[in-house]
């Protein structure tokens, strides 16, 4: 087997093994991705990993798409596609099966109870993830103010979030935020 093919297999193996353990959203396996990319396989430096993390957070789409950049560095564009297919394949298949099963019990009492009961629980979890994002995103009082203002505007007005983010981005570019 050529080196290229071997690397491609390695990319596939790394991300296939992470697919079904990425519970609680893709970012829970971020430390594992880091270990595989930097220490285990030496595909990139620590600094490069931090940079591609920022890039993938800022780019549109699910943030776990960072795996495509690991694959890109390791084995080119094909590597990027293989990485994405590997990390999404098994979990997506499982989700699909779960959805099909879910649909069959549309009128079951336990499903009605599930939907009524899980709503409030999820609401609490929604606030929890909001707090987690705030804690990891904001590192200065200006950032907290921007977060608070953005939150209030989004709840109280119909202003598009894109406008709010653009303004915040301009403030950031002028060095106001950090």
């Amino acid at each position: 087997m050529s080196d290229d093919a071997a690397t491609l297999w390695r990319v596939a193996a790394v991300f296939l093994s992470l697919s079904l353990v990425s519970l609680g959203g893709g970012n829970s396996v971020l430390p594992e991705i880091h270990r595989a990319a930097v220490q285990q396989n030496g595909w990139m430096t620590d600094r490069q990993f931090a940079d591609i993390y920022a890039i993938s957070e800022a780019a549109p789409g699910p943030s776990s798409m960072i795996v495509s950049l690991v694959g890109l560095k390791a084995a080119g564009v094909i590597g990027a596609l293989v990485a994405v297919a590997a990390i999404l394949g098994p979990s997506s298949l499982l989700m699909y099966i779960a959805c099909r099963t879910w649909d069959r019990f549309r009128d079951a009492k336990w499903r009605i109870a599930f939907e009524r009961g899980l709503g409030p629980v999820s609401l609490g979890l929604l606030f929890s993830s909001g707090f987690t994002v705030v804690r990891s995103s904001d590192h200065s009082w200006v950032a907290y103010v921007i977060t608070a203002v953005s939150c209030v505007l989004l709840v109280r007005t119909k202003i598009s979030p894109l406008i709010i983010m653009a303004i915040a981005g301009v403030l950031g570019a002028f060095g106001v935020v950090s």
Partner: protein, 191 residues
């Protein structure tokens, strides 16, 4: 919020793909769940808030990125397997193309410091958006003390006591299900 009598439209495969493309492209700097709620519920009325919350919890309980799972959930709900593929394509193809191009540029030409500064601002605003989602939905539950109690318990468990999310759900979900179990044959009321 719609009452049960409003018929739910059944979007086409193209509409599903466009919907998730819109969600993906709106989410510069994160906040995909908030965008999903805004685009699927506020703009298109494809689901009620309650169904969205259920979907959100299912997508978070299963492995895989929440938004990818959400695309599968919505796609399957309206159009089965083809629907899931259409939603996934909408969510992933364009963002991946952009990200791989950015990555390519980064590995070949290196990074721009001004980008980092801009990002700190965008990320702060995005955090506000993540926070706003709960506040928008909480209105549906404010008058139900039991629902508020379950919500508060989940929040305290994860954020204050730092218990892992799957464990919190495994404990609270059965309790909430038992509490809200439908009694009699009356259809489930929507508030």
């Amino acid at each position: 919020m719609s009452d049960g009598s409003t018929p739910i439209p059944r979007p086409s495969l193209g509409a599903l793909a466009v919907c998730f493309l819109q969600i993906a492209l709106s989410s510069f700097g994160g906040g995909l769940s908030a965008w999903t709620r805004r685009i699927v519920i506020e703009d298109r009325h494809w689901m009620t808030d309650q169904e969205f919350l259920t979907a959100l919890t299912i997508t978070r309980l299963f492995p895989g990125p929440n938004q990818v799972n959400m695309a599968i959930y919505v796609g399957v709900r309206f159009r089965g397997f083809a629907g899931a593929l259409a939603s996934l394509a909408g969510l992933l193809v364009v963002p991946l193309t952009i990200l791989i191009s950015l990555g390519y540029a980064y590995f070949h030409f290196h990074h721009v410091p001004a980008l980092q500064a801009t990002l700190t601002g965008v990320v702060a605003a995005a955090a506000g958006m993540a926070l706003s989602m709960g506040f928008k939905i909480v209105g549906n539950y404010l008058r139900q003390w039991d629902a508020m109690l379950f919500g508060a318990a989940a929040f305290v468990g994860v954020t204050v006591l730092k218990i892992s999310l799957p464990l919190v759900v495994l404990v609270l979900a059965p309790l909430a299900m038992a509490w809200f179990w439908p009694r009699g044959d009356a259809p489930p009321e929507q508030s």
